[in-house]
């Protein structure tokens, strides 16, 4: 069996609201191995973003077990979780979430700042990664000077600069037009195939999900389908 990067057992998440406790995730079980390319689909409200935030160590589970890179997240302190986000995980958001006052280069280098890397190192690595996502020459621009597709490339570069084991992307193409979406997905696919980066992408668009090898479909906080994405879409087409 391949290396399990993520192991989830009986994962539950509930929120306390004035109307009472609402359970969003009703106990999920799966594992993701190194090098996989996984798409997470599901109707809105199915809990896919909630799951993603927990996997990205931005949020914590209410119960159940979640291990990433061999570490049980329930046992980790806030600083250790921050360390995981910095070194093991890369995160790409729907809304790009770049710092507007900061240059492209400094945005990309931000994760390295929290590793106390020196300036020449930060600069060098940021420029290398920017070249890889096709943004040579934009290092000193600011986010509001470039297009949405370019901004998402910057966000991807930022997620990759720390050489993470796994990259999570929450609706990475949600704010982009179709053509740009496909360019971004091609970039992701290339990273997975050539660099062996593990990818987990949340999307509600079928043609985005088709890029992935494996599909996890959530409905009402439960896993409805977990298997090869090609099989799923062929079955639906038939």
């Amino acid at each position: 069996m391949a290396d399990a990067l993520i192991r989830v057992e009986g994962l539950k998440k509930s929120y306390v609201s004035p109307a009472g406790t609402v359970e969003v995730l009703h106990g999920l079980d799966f594992q993701i191995n190194a090098g996989e390319f996984v798409a997470v689909m599901g109707p809105s409200g199915s809990g896919k973003s909630t799951m993603m935030n927990i996997l990205g160590c931005l949020d914590t589970a209410s119960s159940g077990k979640f291990e990433i890179a061999g570490k049980d997240t329930a046992q980790l302190s806030n600083d250790q979780l921050a360390g995981l986000r910095n070194e093991v995980i890369g995160f790409v958001f729907q809304g790009f979430n770049l710092l507007q006052r900061t240059t492209i280069e400094d945005n990309v280098a931000l994760p390295l700042v929290y590793r106390s890397a020196d300036k020449p190192t930060r600069r060098k690595e940021a420029r290398e990664i920017l070249a890889k996502v096709g943004l040579d020459g934009y290092a000193l621009s600011r986010p509001n000077q470039i297009s949405g597709g370019q901004q998402q490339r910057v966000a991807i570069a930022r997620a990759l600069v720390g050489k993470p084991k796994i990259v999570f992307a929450d609706e990475p193409t949600g704010n982009l037009d179709t053509k740009t979406s496909h360019e971004i997905m091609d970039l992701f696919t290339g990273l997975n195939r050539q660099e062996g980066i593990t990818l987990v992408i949340v999307t509600h668009e079928a043609d985005v999900a088709q890029y992935a090898d494996r599909l996890i479909r959530l409905v009402d906080g439960r896993i409805d389908y977990d298997g090869p994405s090609r099989a799923y879409f062929q079955e639906r087409a038939a």
């Binding site: 806030n78 921050a82 986000r85 910095n86 931000l110 929290y114 590793r115």
Partner: protein, 406 residues
């Protein structure tokens, strides 16, 4: 780590330039006020200090005590009990630098140029030592002048102005109560005393000359008081004890009987004057520092607003791996930068204010390095103290909640 954070803090403050400047204004005014007020206080203190130093240091005045006959008590010095011999005996004590007997009186002084009523002090060369009084020209009164009661005089600067004009007085003759005296020297200027008297309006003559010729019959062989200088501030209390024992012995005062003399410690008086100036400085600084606290509250207020506005940014940073202490440090640095920049400008303003007060108000002002260091120390403390709460609030945000914040 600090490098990029400083740059980040700078850019964050620059993004809201007007707001940052207005926030800093509180610190600017506070620090400016503290520096200016301290400079006024220091100036006053320096003035008092100079006056005290002109008096001479570590001084005692030994006065003849009061006497009681029946129900009537005379004032201090009422009974002439002190003699020049007492002064000589005191001068022999350990740790005594000088002991000058003084037989004072007022007299009309005449020269070819004009006449002037002034204070004449019959004394010895020890007077110059005790009061740290140097000569502008000429020679001091010598031991042989005292022994032979010669008619020589040392005259103060004010006397020179009034009785000689531009002429050199040394070697000239002045008439005091119609007796001719040779001016042997001119005393260096001392300015005003603590109580505002002109210390240069005086003439020194040998004590024996004053006793036997100028004020014959008034003193006999006694003197009004003796000025004593101890060798150091530490020695003063011992010198006082020794003098008391010596004088009681010399005056044959039995046990249980009251002293027939009083010893006043001038150093204590000088200390209290200096202390008054110090208290004034502190009070001025305390009032001014209230505005520093107000400035600090302004910083806290703006930092709280800033944390709320930048919640999403904090979320992004946390998602990327910023630890709580990274976020804390970032906002603390911003608060510190506000207060220290404000302090820097405030110091400039304060120095300008001190200069203006000197120029327009005629008050002596002294900006000491200590007051500038103090201002920076306080500004740092204010920045950390008032910046900590907003920074901690930012650091304690949950990443996912911060990210979702709109």
């Amino acid at each position: 780590m600090i490098g990029p954070m400083l740059a980040e803090a700078f850019s964050a403050l620059g993004a809201n330039r007007l707001r940052s400047i207005l926030t800093m204004l509180g610190m600017v005014i506070g620090v400016g006020a503290v520096i200016t007020m301290l400079s006024v206080g220091e100036g006053t203190k320096a003035q008092v200090q100079a006056t005290i130093e002109s008096m001479g240091s570590n001084l005692f005045i030994v006065q003849a005590g009061s006497a009681q006959s029946g129900a009537v008590r005379t004032g201090a010095g009422g009974v002439p009990t002190l003699t020049a011999a007492d002064a000589e005996a005191i001068a022999e004590l350990a740790d005594v630098n000088a002991a000058a007997p003084v037989a004072p009186g007022n007299a009309q002084v005449v020269t070819a140029y004009g006449n002037w009523s002034t204070q004449i002090m019959g004394t010895t060369e020890d007077m110059l030592v005790a009061r740290d009084w140097s000569l502008a020209s000429g020679y001091p009164i010598s031991e042989s002048d005292v022994r032979s009661a010669s008619r020589v005089a040392l005259i103060g600067r004010t006397i020179v102005t009034n009785l000689f004009g531009d002429e050199d007085p040394v070697g000239q003759t002045i008439r005091i109560r119609n007796l001719p005296f040779v001016v042997q020297g001119v005393l260096a200027g001392k300015g005003q005393s603590l109580d505002g008297r002109d210390q240069d309006d005086t003439i020194l003559v040998p004590v024996t000359t004053a006793q036997r010729q100028l004020f014959a019959g008034r003193f006999g062989d006694t003197v009004r008081f003796i000025i004593v200088q101890a060798s150091s501030a530490d020695a003063m209390s011992r010198v006082q004890t020794d003098m008391t024992a010596l004088l009681r012995d010399r005056h044959r005062i039995g046990e249980g009987q009251e002293d027939d003399f009083q010893i006043r410690n001038l150093a204590a008086m000088a200390d209290s004057a200096a202390q008054t100036a110090q208290v004034m400085t502190l009070m001025l600084a305390a009032i001014a520092s209230i505005s520093l606290i107000v400035g600090g509250i302004g910083i806290m207020n703006i930092m709280l607003v800033s944390v709320t506005e930048r919640t999403r940014e904090i979320g992004i940073r946390m998602a990327i791996g910023a630890r709580q202490r990274d976020v804390l440090l970032q906002f603390l640095l911003e608060a510190l930068m506000l207060s220290l920049l404000g302090c820097l400008i405030g110091v400039g303003l304060g120095i300008g204010g001190a200069w203006l007060i000197k120029l327009l108000g005629g008050l002596d002002t002294v900006v000491t390095p200590e007051s500038v260091i103090l201002a920076f120390a306080v500004a740092t403390a204010v920045g950390v103290f008032f910046g900590y709460y907003p920074a901690r609030k930012a650091a304690r945000l949950k990443p996912i909640e911060a990210l979702r914040y709109q």
